[in-house]
Amino acid sequence: MSAKESTFADRLLGRVSPAGLLSLVAPVTAIVFAALVTMVILGLIGAPPVDTLVAMGEYAVRPRSIVLTLNAATYFYLSALAVAIGFKMNLFNIGVDGQYRLAALTAAAVGGAVALPAPLHVALIIFVAVLVGAGWAAIAGLLKVRRGVSEVISTIMLNAIATALGSWLLNKERLAVEVAGSNNIGTKPIPASGQVPGLAIVSGTQTKVFGLILLSIAMGVLFHVVINRTRFGFDLRATGRSEPAAVASGVNVKRMILVSMILSGAVAGLVGMPQLLGSSYSYSLDFPTGLGFTGIAIALLGRNHPVGIAFGALLWAFLNTSAGILQLKKISPDIVNIMQGVIVLSVIVAYELVHRYQVAAEQRRVSRQMANTPAEEGTPA
């Protein structure tokens, strides 16, 4: 194996080893386990477990459902990428939630206030979103670098503060106007020049796929290239794997923390864009919330790998869509939340077990191949 170069498929799986397939065992086990748990709960509340799951599956493969799944996956994916940037260097950006909401609100307000030619208008809105997301994340980065405040706590607090700031801004005295035909309020709608048209790629339905799905895909590719192919990405991964080793190798860890926090926030700024530019055109009280936490779950599910995250985002969106049928069957759709929670928890346990097995297996393999050299004291850690 050492002699021949890795194939593209190997690299796609992110691990150049025969154990690559083993990585798939973990998520599959977790999903099966979660399905079993869900069936038990369905049984307990008196719904037919198998029939219900089958109905959910059937509902989710209808053309309209597929579009909804793809659309949800579009922003889930961006959110998970934002989280994954931090995770790659052991930085927990729990604050994606606040970052994207604040970014979407300001970007919507700016987009509604100006009129520009189409590509420039869209670019401006996205630019503002990225800027606000990055700026809000930078607060947590600075607090960590300058004052040693754990980013876990600070980003959570900043989420709450972002909510407060958002509701202060989204007021008729400031950025909000009344949404026509409802008692909802939102920012001034973005004119057509700032909207991104949908793509009619799924036949059999009128609903269109968000145009910005292309942005999601592009960000995934960019993420992969930056993390794996650039010096910056190497420094980032090195810091995540061992901070002291990174310091000794000349990485400026404080700078890396700040930069990756800002990058994570910048990507978080994009999270609200597919919805804003592709469907709602205004940030109102019913703009989707909680996407940041979903992003954490999906990043864990996809092991911070761009392809893994894509599957994670699709799975999550698929489950959300499939819950649509439950209401009709008089079952609480929240059962899907439990299923998702169980998947996350069991997948991280499963990954850990697989990881241990792989490390042990590799050590065994190496020592078997090296059997002719003298044994050494202690086990290599």
Binding site: R229, T230, G250, R365
Partner: protein
């Protein structure tokens, strides 16, 4: 007092862990006082009166001596509460009767190495152990502290205790043991009486062949100063000066050894030179004053670094070998092209290092954690040499590696020195220091307190300089 000797990796530590119930034997029997025993945990071993003093202290720094000592067998009153009074009295009593001089109420992190070891011994005695296992107890002590330790141990033996003493320092073993067992590659190769053998014979039993020894041969020192350090000061926690006015020059082709008891500022000195820790003073590399430079820039200018703790500072354990090749050299060819990582170049060069430095590995895609310590270290040495260094910091370069790798690493250091490299060598192995260095300095409490000529110094004299006894001389 029974000594078990063997080279690094001979299986001494494993044997002791089995005796202490930390690891389970595959087969075989253990008898204590004639009765066969089987241990499933250290608790069982403690139960039959076996106590262990570990090579790496098993102490919680944030807890007091008292808490560390009584942990696991606390005296109680009313069933649940700890009887602190009784514990304190008991510790004082043991400390006084064996002359250990331990205060139960200080925090362990405030203690020095020697005192910590006495706390470890106290811990074992407190549990009423009659059989003490000491795993390489002298590894971290200077000769004077070793003498005190041996005095303490003889006191214990007089009281009727049994001591199993593990070491690879033969002169110590010969001076203190009543019986010696030699093990090699996990089996007993000889049982000898210390009165009947010489250190040389013992050593050959241990290694099974000729002994490697660090010898530098001809001097290669030139007149060109490669690195010059002036008045270097490092402060820790704001006030305390851990490196104090250190100055030295190292010329091309010269190895400067720094001797000293661990924790006397060596680590801080190295980190200051690497730019990993703020320091005052001047550091000149060739023409340039580099004291304001970042770690990265210093590395690019040609400083190589073999860190003391390779797992913490030298490797990414969960990354493949070829990515470890890039570490510390992530701005230089063949690893990168502009801002891009050059995978092909880095992999190719990793293969070269694996080949020419004899890193035993099935390939360059295995994670660094899968390699043995010696091979990890050879990879690091190869990597640092590949950066065309003009100055190399080698911090404990052969710690925890097997004999073969040790000899190989010494060869590489000698070859690099002959090629004109300036080396700062820091080691706890006095033989290594004396054998490899052209010049030797002794560091004590952050200050250079003595300069000795490696050609006519013995480990004993070096040891006394390291403890400050040499200051007067």
């Amino acid at each position: 007092m029974h000594a078990v000797v063997g080279e690094n990796g001979a299986g001494k530590s494993t044997l002791m862990k089995i005796l202490y119930g930390m690891q389970r034997p595959d087969e075989g029997r253990i008898r204590v006082n004639g009765a066969e025993v089987g241990f499933r945990s250290p608790g069982d071993a403690i139960g039959v009166g076996i106590g262990m003093v570990h090579q790496h202290f098993m102490l919680a720094g944030n807890l007091t001596v008292l808490e560390n000592v009584i942990l696991g067998s606390e005296p109680r009153k009313r069933g649940v509460a700890i009887d602190f009074g009784a514990a304190r009295a008991r510790i004082r009593e043991i400390s006084d009767s064996y002359g250990l001089g331990i205060d139960p109420d200080v925090t362990v992190e405030d203690l020095g190495v020697g005192a910590r070891q006495r706390v470890e011994i106290l811990k074992v005695l407190y549990r009423g152990a009659r059989i003490l296992i000491l795993d390489e107890p002298t590894a971290v002590l200077v000769p004077q502290e070793v003498k005190e330790l041996f005095a303490n141990l003889r006191e214990l033996v007089r009281e009727g205790l049994t001591i199993i003493f593990i070491s690879h320092k033969l002169d110590e073993v010969l001076s203190v043991a009543d019986a010696i067992t030699v093990i090699r590659r996990g089996t007993t190769v000889a049982e000898v009486d210390p009165k009947d053998v010489s250190a040389r014979q013992l050593a050959e039993l241990m290694v099974g062949s000729e002994l490697p020894s660090p010898q530098t041969g001809e001097s290669t020192v030139t007149d060109t100063v490669a690195i010059s350090v002036r008045d270097l000061r490092v402060h820790s926690d704001g006030e305390r000066c851990v490196v104090d006015d250190v100055s030295f020059d190292i010329r091309r082709g010269e190895v400067l050894g720094i001797a000293g008891v661990e924790g006397n500022g060596q680590a801080e000195l190295v980190e200051a030179i690497m730019g990993m820790r703020p320091a005052d003073g001047e550091i000149r590399l060739g023409e340039h004053d580099i004291s304001g430079w970042t770690t990265l820039r210093r590395r690019e200018a040609g400083i190589g670094y073999i860190p003391e703790d390779r797992h913490r500072h030298g490797l990414l354990l969960e990354a493949p070998l070829w990515e470890n090749r890039i570490l510390g050299h992530q701005t230089r060819r063949p690893n990168v092209k502009g801002p891009w990582i050059d995978r092909a170049g880095a992999r190719e060069d990793t293969r070269r290092i694996v080949e020419s430095y004899d890193v035993r590995t099935p390939g360059i895609d295995v994670d660094a954690s899968a390699l043995s310590g010696g091979n990890q270290q050879k990879l690091i040495v190869g990597r640092e040499m590949s950066g065309d260094p003009v100055f190399l910091i080698a911090s404990h370069p052969t710690r925890g590696v097997d004999v073969g790798a040790q000899a190989a690493i010494w060869d590489h250091l000698r070859a690099a020195r002959a090629a004109g490299l300036a080396v700062l060598l820091i080691s706890a192995d006095l033989d290594e220091l004396i054998g490899l260095s052209d010049t030797l300095r002794v560091i004590l409490r952050g200050r250079i307190v003595a300069e000795v000529d490696p050609k006519d110094v013995t480990p004993e004299r070096l040891g006394s300089a390291m403890t400050g006894a040499g200051e007067a001389a």
